[in-house]
Amino acid sequence: MIEINQLTKTFTSQDGTPVHALGGVDLTVNDNEFLTLLGPSGCGKTTMLKMIAGLQGWDGGTITIDGKAVTGPGPDRSMVFQNFALLPWATVMDNVCFGLRLRGTERRAREERAQELIEMVGLSGFESKRPGELSGGMQQRVGIARALAVDPQILLMDEPFGAVDEQTRRLLQEELLSIWERNRLTVVFVTHSMEEAVLLGDRVVLMSARPGQISEIVEVPLARPRSSDVGGLERSREYTEITAHLWDQLRSMHSEHRAVEAVR
């Protein structure tokens, strides 16, 4: 269980004015929950994810995982990056092995494990290719395999499908769902797409900007497993209602924002 308490963070922008990235956020992520963070750009959703990952410091508040305070990256968490963050010089196999290698897993064992995951994400036959030879969708499959290879309890995903085209994105969403339905990890998934947030999440956390705050948490009542009938879900009444509701909220945030800008 991830517990976030009164988390605040203020950056100083280059012209010296303070920017309130997070203004006192409280959030609990349950075990085996798929939680999606949704919000306009600048709402601090990625910043908060990086804090959970232990990559980024904060000013006030606490983050604990199963009661232990987060002080840095740990083996219980792994992260999937928006720009994939693959090593361009390493093969698919070596990229998937990367985390295991850093943790000192012996070569035979880590390659066996990597092979399993490469098969799971459907990249068999591409083991010795380099990232430059793969499409964006395939690169992110490598990123997901690398994150899962170290057997984390928590998977942190930072707009993982933001850099791929729409069709690939839908395929990856379905695959992520079916992987998750099997391993039931705790997932915190950052996105700016309402459809993606609703389709994947058990709950959608809607954040607003300046300062970054949680404006609403929406339960998604769609039945699981969802991977077998994504198209049907998207035509369901619940799905339509939730996305419409989220859009109303986001639109009012945007018009508020515009009003603030106008006053300035």
Binding site: F11, T12, Q14, G16, G54, L55, Q56, G57, W58, D59, G60, I63, A69, V70, T71, G72
Partner: protein
């Protein structure tokens, strides 16, 4: 509390407000330290080839007083301006043609690369044999040094103009000449200017090396002369003048660059 030690990446350190010297302040501090170290080493070791800074400045003043510097500087600058201007014209015309027409690129590409790679000063004896021991040879050396880097940068800039921009131009009925002058050259300008800056740097090298080889005029000859009479202070004095000329010339191109390409967003600009 900040639970996590600040990482080594510059990105996170930005969040910590901290006193920082600007680029100019840092350079000034660094140069002052350098000059102090120079003076100290010069005084303590008293090497004939490494006199202290103050002695070198004294010698420089003396040379200026005698009129050694101004005349030679003028000659050197005229070599530089003449050579660079010729290179600039060749660089832009040939480079644009190479970037725009594949036949020109096929005809010249390999040779331009070869001439860029080859040590330019080996051509000096050839120019010497054609133009004799005069300014013509030195200007030819300057051209040899600076032309090819400008051709190659211009060619790649022109070749990399987005196809969509050309299609846009054609859709408004632009002729080939209009396309080149109104769309291609302006779009290629930032990269071209990066090449022109490199070309200016190389032109200064060509000027000095040419003058040292064909030792009849200019700062290059002055250095050689001072060396022959084992006058370390004079060598360093002329070297200071040369460095000022080099920095000034490159700085001038940078100023022009900034004035002409203000529309380019900072992030996409090549850092010098």
């Amino acid at each position: 509390m900040t639970a996590i030690a600040q990482s080594t990446t510059p990105r996170t350190s930005r969040s910590v407000p901290r006193f920082r010297l600007g680029g100019v302040g840092m350079s000034a501090l660094s140069l002052t330290l350098g000059v102090l170290a120079w003076e100290l080493v010069g005084r303590v070791f008293a090497l004939p080839f490494f006199p202290p800074f103050t002695v070198v400045v004294g010698t420089l003043m003396e040379m200026i007083g005698r009129g050694d510097i101004v005349g030679n500087l003028a000659v050197s600058l005229s070599n530089l301006v003449a050579g660079f201007t010729i290179s600039l014209v060749i660089g832009i015309v040939v480079g644009t043609a190479m970037g725009r027409y594949w036949r020109v690129r096929a005809a010249l590409g390999v040779y331009v690369y070869a001439l860029l790679t080859a040590p330019s000063l080996v051509f000096a004896p050839i120019f010497f044999s054609i133009f004799g021991a005069g300014q013509g040879s030195i200007i030819a050396v300057v051209v040899m040094y600076s032309t090819f880097v400008m051709i190659i940068n211009t060619a790649s800039a022109v070749q990399n103009v987005p196809a969509a921009m050309l299609e846009m131009g054609r859709s408004y009925g632009a002729s080939e000449w209009q396309l080149v002058t109104r769309v291609i050259v302006p779009a290629a300008l930032p990269t071209m200017l990066a090449g022109i800056r490199l070309g200016m740097g190389r032109a200064v090298l060509g000027m000095i090396n040419g003058e040292m080889f064909i030792a009849v005029t200019g700062l290059g000859r002055l250095v050689t002369q001072a060396g022959k009479s084992f006058d370390g202070a004079a060598v360093l004095a002329v070297l200071i003048v040369i460095i000022v000329v080099a920095l000034g010339a490159v700085g001038l191109v940078q100023m022009v660059d900034r004035a002409l390409t203000g529309w380019v967003p900072d992030t996409s600009k090549e850092k010098s």
